[in-house]
């Protein structure tokens, strides 16, 4: 079960990270650097906010206090709607809103000054539940909307009402999922440096340098060219280091612009959890009609996602929930309405999975509920309804241009875990042989996940291959390293494309000023988009070399080959080393440089019907979980997880496995222990003593299975694994808990009352 040393991982940053030499944002220091701290006010909802900074300025070492009045550009920004306050003007909409920023000679001085800022305001009653927010008489929280419903996606297919009338069984269920903190181990941090030419340089812990640049430029009222965002090592993101992390960078940049000094803003964990956006909690209501043969004939779904006070990417998160509203099943009659609703609960945005884990939890629980009611085996029910080669999805997309492998991945898991036998051994429904404390259960779930952004937005990525005189190569792409290993994947792809040794290639972490905007590093798009861009650039580069070297290699350009770290003609003796080849190009006055852009294949979407080719390809997944439930305490212990994912092609196998184990563990956290609670809008779990995430003993050794059906639309064949790994473990565990106890948990994190156990 453990990784063998033969599958050695490749990571270009491993030695730096294992020796402590890797530089994260807070590790960056400059002489004369000032430190910044944010000022919060203890309001959840308030208007007429007035900030008094005079006492703060008296603190020794406090240099300055900045408020909205000091902002030269726009105080508010956002990726879709510009409603997120980098600094509050006059209205507080969440407990995490920042009213002022202090600048001190030391961080301690900045923090002490922050504590001396006084805020007065007219308090309003916060709106803290979706139900309250939907009341027609409720105060409308967003300024730009005339209702607290900030987005409504629809999907209309067939005629569900007519189909329900023909059904043998109709199941109606409601599910709830929690607010989850991404819990990246490194809190937000930024160091901003004013350059002598007027450019502000940003070194920040953020997922997306280009997104960050837009936030910074907007706050500072500067052009994009006047802001240069550099990547540094990022201590995890999981979707969580976009808006808030960008705001942290923008605030430090504001300090640098105004003082002319380097400024560092490093968040304490409590600030990070208080202010940063989280995973949307969902309420999901499903009505599903099934024929006597077990075919799902009709689905009605209504979902409410708590968007919180600011829109962030709620429309995109809820769009994915719409497009994937009934899992990997082909259903002809579907009606889905997915709403994003504004409240005063912080705000919710991107987190690994992005609107899919919530839906999958509901759908895969329902499939087991149906199987139980119809007395059909859960595997059989899934087989009847799952998409197959050529099937039409709920959005009307025909899956005929890639391998539809949902049955293959399910078979692999079923075989590996021994599902059929173990399913018969589950405690629920089996007469208890002993008075053992432990109840045993196994459960399974399947999913498909649209790759990359789909119809959310523009989808392209660039790569640069820059050959050097001595035969070494520099590679850059527009995908950002967040810890997932993207730089290593890009390097492996280039080495394969050029048949050269990995040692020849140095990956250069690009800045926003050195490569075109390639979009954000989200949506499991790094490998598929970035890898394809590297292939495009490498093809250009090979073409250039082939044309220039053919004469020297005594062959036609199309006969030039790249392998074994050399460049070859057609005969055994005609070959060049990379150094010889590069020298030849220079002598011919040809620059060995190639730029490639990969444009994702077209997708389509009709907003009124929710029909279209939502994504250009899909990742197919299956996960099974074995659990033990304690009769005495109701505690659920995860005994084993087996996961199979069709990733298209695994480029860095050890890292694919790492994504699986890590994704499953995060998903298990959401299922069994993680939840952010708010008391009157104020978060209860501000640090890891109260916000519990899985520790080493909370998860078992897991078994990952890589399935590889090369994807024809990905130039490397690879699709991705980041989010699929997380999105379906919750229902596998919930189904296992049911099969152990007979208790169906429609709400996560799962809590079992031992009183209810058999």
């Amino acid at each position: 079960m453990s990784t063998t040393i033969r599958e050695k991982a490749f990571r270009n940053d491993a030695v730096a990270k294992v020796t402590g030499r890797a530089v994260f944002a807070d590790d960056v220091s400059y002489a004369g650097m000032l430190h910044m701290a944010p000022v919060y006010a203890d309001y959840v909802a308030a208007r007429d906010v007035r900030v008094d900074v005079s006492a703060a300025l008296d603190v020794p070492g406090c240099r300055r206090v900045l408020t909205a009045a000091d902002v030269p550009g726009a105080t508010h920004y956002g990726q879709i709607e510009r409603d997120y306050p980098i600094l509050i003007t006059d209205t507080i909409r969440t407990w995490g809103d920042v009213v002022a920023l202090t600048l001190g000679d030391t961080r301690d001085a900045a923090i002490e000054a922050a504590a001396r800022v006084t805020v007065t305001a007219t308090e309003e009653t916060p709106i803290l539940t979706v139900e309250e927010a939907l009341d027609p008489y409720a105060r409308v929280i967003p300024t730009w909307s005339d209702s607290n419903v900030v987005v409504h996606h629809r999907l209309r297919r067939g005629d569900p009402d007519a189909a329900f009338a023909e059904c043998e069984l109709i199941v109606e269920e409601e599910f709830r999922t929690p607010v989850v903190e991404q819990a990246y181990l490194e809190p937000e941090s930024a160091v901003c440096v004013p350059r002598t030419d007027g450019v502000i340089e940003v070194y920040g812990s953020m997922q997306h340098p280009f997104s960050t640049r837009r936030f910074v430029a907007s706050l500072l009222g500067e052009s994009l060219a006047n802001i240069e965002v550099h990547g540094v090592a990022v201590g995890g993101g999981f979707g969580g280091k976009d808006d808030t992390a960008a705001a942290v960078c923008a605030r430090a940049a504001l300090g640098a612009l105004i003082t002319g000094r380097p400024v560092k803003l490093t968040y304490a964990r409590e600030w990070s959890i208080r202010e940063s956006y989280k995973r949307h909690p969902y309420i999901l209501k499903y009505k599903v009609g099934v024929t006597s043969e077990g075919r799902v004939a009709a689905v009605k779904a209504e979902m409410f996602a708590d968007s919180g006070a600011y829109l962030s990417v709620t429309p995109w998160v809820t769009w994915r929930s719409t497009a994937q509203c009934f899992g990997p099943y082909a259903v002809d009659n579907v009606c889905a309405d997915v709403y994003g609703v504004a409240t005063n609960n912080g705000f919710n945005g991107a987190m690994r999975g992005f609107g899919a884990p919530q839906v999958n939890f509901a759908v895969e629980s329902i499939m087991d509920i149906i199987a139980g009611r119809l007395k059909i085996h859960p595997l059989g029910l899934r087989r009847i309804n799952m998409v197959k080669q050529g099937s039409t999805t709920v959005t009307g997309q025909v899956l005929d241009d890639h391998t539809v492998s949902i049955e293959e991945v399910m078979n692999r898991v079923v075989h590996e875990v021994g599902f059929r036998k173990k399913y018969e051994e589950c405690s629920f429904g089996t007469p208890s042989e002993t008075d053992s404390d432990a109840l045993y259960g196994i459960g399974l779930s399947i999913s498909y996940r649209g790759s990359s952004l789909g119809a959310e937005g523009m989808d392209f990525c660039s790569a640069i291959v820059n050959g050097q005189f001595d035969g070494s190569l520099i590679l850059e792409t527009g995908i950002h390293e967040n810890g997932q290993g993207s730089e290593s994947v890009m390097t492996l792809v280039l080495a394969e494309q050029l048949g050269c040794s990995l040692k020849r290639i140095r990956y250069r972490r690009s800045s926003t000023s050195t490569i075109p905007d390639s979009g954000t590093t989200v949506a499991t798009r790094g490998t598929i988009l970035g890898g394809s861009a590297v292939v495009v650039a490498a093809r250009e580069f090979r073409q250039l070399l082939s044309t220039s070297l053919a004469t020297r290699l005594r062959c036609k350009p199309e006969e030039v080959r790249f392998h074994e770290d050399r460049i070859w003609g057609t005969t055994f003796d005609a070959s060049l080393t990379w150094a010889e080849a590069m020298k030849e190009l220079y002598l011919q006055r040809i620059t060995p440089f190639a730029f490639g852009t990969y444009q994702a294949p077209d997708v389509s979407w009709d907003d009124t019907t929710g029909q279209g080719n939502a994504y250009f390809t899909y990742v197919y997944s299956c996960q099974a979980a074995e659990v033990q439930v304690s009769r005495k305490s109701g505690n659920v212990k995860l005994l084993n997880v087996v996961a199979a994912h069709d990733v298209g092609r695994a480029i860095n196998r050890a890292m694919v496995m790492g994504q699986m184990y890590g994704g499953i563990t995060q998903g298990a956290g959401m299922t069994l222990m993680e939840e952010v609670h708010r008391d009157g809008g104020r978060i209860r779990e501000l640090n890891y003593n109260r916000y519990r995430i899985p520790r080493a003993l909370d998860v078992p050794d897991m078994h990952g299975i890589i399935v590889e059906n090369h994807d024809p639309k990905s130039l490397t064949g690879a699709k991705g694994i980041g989010e699929p790994a997380l999105e379906l473990i919750a229902p596998a565990i919930a189904n296992a808990v049911h099969n152990a106890t007979g208790i169906r948990c429609n709400s996560i994190p799962i809590k079992i009352d031992p009183e209810e156990l058999p």
Partner: protein, 186 residues
């Protein structure tokens, strides 16, 4: 060995602590400072990470006298023993310690923020138990959070390193390249 002083008291003139084999002076202004901040801000040993500052995440784990401690919960003037940080794990010739090499080889590293603390916690385990089971490894790492890896390849790495070190002549104690019997106070 360093003398423990009350955390409220100023560092006595001439007090030093030994970090990665070198004696380092404590200044009066360092009194009351946490070991975490002292290492990062005074010594620029930034491999020791700050993840929570309340002793819950383990990212600031360092070895003091061979035992893993939370640098964020330790006052620098209270340190009684040689300190080893991640920067002191490499061997004198600059090559990686077998534990570090195993983390690299099996793919136990993703974002890398927990890695220094994990390596040091694992080192403390292997020094006292050269043949730990996977469960014992998990127990020893229970105080160190990782959000990326799901721990599995970290456990693999510790297992591999333990085997390698048993096969190659025992456990190496890092960071003690100078005379270990020499006192560290003035």
């Amino acid at each position: 060995m360093s003398r423990a002083t009350g955390s409220a008291g100023a560092a006595p003139a001439g007090q030093t602590i030994r970090v990665n084999g070198a004696a380092r002076p404590l200044l009066p202004a360092d009194a009351g400072m946490t070991l975490l901040r002292w290492l990062r801000e005074r010594e620029f040993l930034t491999g020791t990470k700050n993840g929570c500052e309340i002793g819950a995440c383990g990212a600031c784990t360092v070895l003091v006298g061979g035992r893993p401690v939370r640098a964020c919960k330790t006052t620098v003037t209270d340190v009684a023993g040689d300190v080893v940080t991640i920067e002191g794990m490499e061997r004198p010739d600059g090559s990686l310690h077998p534990l570090q090499q195993a983390f690299v080889d099996v793919g136990a590293i993703q974002c890398g923020f927990c890695t220094p603390g994990m390596v040091l916690a694992a080192q403390a385990l292997l020094a006292s138990k050269p043949e730990p089971s996977r469960l014992e490894i998990r127990r020893a790492l229970q105080g160190n959070l990782c959000r990326c890896t799901g721990y599995q390849q970290i456990v693999d790495a510790v297992e591999h390193a333990a085997r390698f070190m048993r096969d190659n002549g025992g456990i190496e104690s890092p960071g003690c390249t100078q005379d270990e019997t020499e006192g560290t106070t003035g």
